[in-house]
Amino acid sequence: MNLQRKLQQLLRSLVQPLTAVLIGLLTGAVAISIVGASVLETYKVMWDGAFGNFYFVTATLARATPIILIGLGLAIAFRAGVFNMGAEGQMVLGAVSAALAALYVPGSGIIKMLSALVAGFLAGGLWSLLAGWMETRFKVQLLISTLLLNYVAVLFAGYLVSSPFQDKSGSAALAQTHMIDQAAWLPKLFQGMSVHMGFVIAIVLAIILYIILRFTSAGYEVRMLGYNPFFAEYGGINKIKVLLFSMFFSGGIAGLAGTVEVLGSQYRYVEGSLTVPGYAWTGLMAALLANSNPLGTAVAAIMLAALQTGAMGMERNTEVPLEIASVIQGVLILFVTAKITMNWWKVKKKAGDIHGAA
């Protein structure tokens, strides 16, 4: 009976994201037939591009790694009821700090790696904490401050690698740091495949976060704050403390996303390498699609990554343009934002009628 209820609940929570994906795929199908290709065949090619053989599977998982981490970071903030829109900046600052730590902290490879992980986490976390602090101290809206801080972070990181820490050894002086010592790299999971230890970190973190949110008092406080801040305060939850902690971990994990990209696949910080693929926004979508459930976020992130790698495969092998993937993603975004708008509307209404009985 209880199990059945749980299953029902699980299914119900899956209905919405699955419908979103289904409608996304249907819209994609329409677009594909408009350009005159066979829908089934194109989707088959896409599937193969994402999961067709072991190599593609690992490529998909590699791409999913930063998206999962970003999504997890955002999920924490959303659960606490704060709208952290600053994942991109937090990720980039994390990445550049990690690269610099790996380059300049003295010691063995493992020490370099660990200090890079710590530095990346701290940089992202503190950057995000800054926005949280401005909100609690000066009532600067988080939604806006985090968005604006993105620009600051990305430009600052760009400055660091284009002048003081630039690798000038190469012929085409790119805006990037030197390459970090191979001993500090995150190991690949399989020889010759792109997926690296960062993926394991992401999955383990998803599980840990799930457990924390569900079974611990800290998780309870975060969730109640997100559900109803008045209730949380009334019950003795320290709103400010929980908000700041949530923001710190949220940004820290986003920083980690940048860090594992640096340590596991780029081996240096390259300007634009994290912003151009739009990891932050895909991660945002993953968290929203999964309603900020950590495990769901991981799954959604892998799905979205597959959509992207699959689309690349499609472009390699068919006449259908890459943009089809954007169409599908666009529909997903539409769904997700519709959901947010509705929730926002409800909250807004609630704020208007705080009196009354039932």
């Binding site: 009334y234 019950g235 003795g236 320290n238 705080i354 039932a358």
Partner: protein
């Protein structure tokens, strides 16, 4: 003759749970139908189906003999059905007029015609004798006024059938009187009204016909002239009500001591003005007052939810002012909040999670910061049994509980802390008479146990039955404290309106 409204064998299932089981009601033009019944009996559910907010599992709705189906509230409104929500749905930044005409604004050259709107609202307000100030911001209106806005909005939309779901729960006694008059007047004008309430005297005053629901079924349908309060109560709870337990005489030492408390000193009218009050052990101190005279702020100050400007609050030996909510709760305070949806619960959270608030910090339920759910569940199940809280499971969303059942859950949670001191603000708001009796018993038992209780209630009868002493609040001050034996409804009313006891009643008529 045909009825204006007939609902026939309406059934609503939530999963396996039958919220309404073949419920039928009829309503004629100009008639007031009261629907009464225990918490969770299915009253709100039935009305939500009528208003198109919920689709019936089976059943038929007929308007003037014609079968209708509503896909949403807009459909229902179109067909002349209006609902005044328990939670007002007003836009607080908009004016009264704008709130009333929203959705059906009068237009000139395609633009909102503010002047005509204001005139229309004024005319409507005069026609139905419902007083509002059309230009005021809705957010600045008192609760009674907000409700009048809702009623006018429904009338403006052309409703012939008006649903009022527990409209008096939040009103002051004077506002209740006014509302009942309005209901009668509307009925005289040919409107049909469905009134849901737990207060049987109100039912006897305005309704013609009374339908009693229990466990989703109709258990009685009587005409007012053929029944009385006792019979209705029995029909509702299936047993007769008992007299409250006697209170033993206690001479307790001071427990909660508030000294010279001030809030909002910089404002034109201070919110709390040099307020001093003591609650002794083994004593219930009731606070009477028209809402908005500082009661909410006083409660919030004691429980740590609001900063104070000066003064001190002590609980036993512990100083409470300036301390965090968690610290204060730890020091021995529990708190039934006045608004269960704002403070008392999170609608999205499960029943278990709503119950867990506060307990998750206790050693017994917390093992190295992992919550021990198994032990806690036993506790919640105990509450559910004792307070007869109707819920399908512990995983049910709190927001899906009926209003009264959620209230009972919150009361159970706060009593469960077994603290020395309890703030009980509107402890029985929205609960049925059986549950009210039970909650009153529990509060008195707590008192007899030597604990102190501060009771805040807009129900004078509740204050009078429970309190040992009654403090009357007016404009942030305690204007008088009466002993239980000296207090009467009349004396309290005079004091609540700002009148001085020694002055004659002429003062009351001018200020009230």
């Amino acid at each position: 003759m045909t009825y204006r409204l007939e609902m026939k064998e309406m059934t609503k299932k939530y999963g396996e749970f039958l919220a309404n089981d073949e419920v039928s009601i009829q309503l004629k033009k100009g008639e007031v139908l009261a629907i009464v019944g225990e918490n969770g009996a299915g009253k709100t559910t039935l009305m939500r189906m009528l208003y198109g907010l919920e689709q019936p599992t089976s059943g038929e709705i007929k308007l003037n003999g014609k079968t209708v189906k509503f896909s949403g509230p807009l459909d229902a409104i179109e067909n002349g059905i209006g609902m005044v929500h328990q939670h007002f749905m007003l836009f607080s930044d908009f004016s009264v007029t704008e709130n009333i005409v929203i959705g059906h604004e009068p237009k000139r050259n395609g633009f909102f015609d503010r002047k005509e709107a204001a005139e229309k609202v004024k005319a409507l307000s005069e026609q139905y004798k419902i007083h509002v100030n059309p230009l005021k911001k809705a957010g600045d209106c008192s609760i009674g006024e907000q409700q009048r806005i809702e009623i006018l909005k429904v009338l403006y939309q052309g409703a012939d059938i008006i649903i009022l779901d527990e409209p008096t729960a939040v009103l002051t006694p004077i506002e209740v009187e006014e509302l009942l008059k309005t209901i009668q007047f509307l009925a005289e004008q040919g409107k049909s009204i469905i009134l849901i309430t737990h207060k049987l005297p109100e039912v006897m005053k305005v309704s013609g016909q009374i339908t009693v629901l229990r466990n989703g079924k109709v258990t009685g349908n009587v005409l007012k002239q053929n029944t009385d309060i006792e019979q209705l109560a029995t029909l509702m709870v299936g047993r007769e009500l008992q007299k409250l337990t006697d209170r033993n005489q206690l001479e307790g030492e001071p427990l909660l001591v508030i000294d010279n408390l001030n809030i909002g000193v910089k404002e034109a009218k201070p919110i709390l003005d040099h307020l001093s009050l003591t609650v002794n052990r083994g004593e219930i101190v009731g606070i009477a007052g028209v809402s908005g005279n500082g009661q909410s702020e006083l409660i919030q100050a004691i429980s740590g939810l609001r900063k104070i400007d000066s003064g001190s609050i002590r609980l036993g030996e512990t100083i409470l002012n300036g301390k965090s909510v968690a610290y204060i709760r730890n020091a021995g305070l529990a708190h039934i909040p006045e608004d269960r949806y704002l403070w008392g619960a999170a609608k999205e959270a499960s029943v278990e999670e709503t119950g867990l608030m506060g307990y998750y910090r206790k050693k017994k339920f917390n093992q190295s910061s992992f919550i021990r759910l198994n032990g806690f569940r036993k506790l919640v199940r105990g509450w559910i049994e004792r307070f007869e809280i109707k819920t399908t499971s512990l995983d049910e969303k709190s927001g899906n509980l009926s209003g009264g059942n959620l209230q009972k859950l919150i009361v159970a949670r706060e009593l469960g802390f077994e603290t020395d001191f309890l703030i009980a603000a509107e402890p029985t708001r929205g609960v049925d008479i059986g549950a009210m009796e039970y909650i009153h018993e529990a509060i008195i038992a707590k008192r007899n146990n030597g604990d102190g209780i501060l009771l805040v209630s807009s129900e004078l009868t509740e204050i009078l039955t429970l309190s040992d002493r009654i403090a009357v609040m007016y404009e942030g001050k305690i204007v008088d404290i009466l002993d239980r034996n000296d207090a009467t409804e009349e004396r309290l009313s005079v004091l609540m309106a700002g009148g001085n006891e020694n002055e004659s009643s002429t003062k009351t008529t001018t200020t009230a």
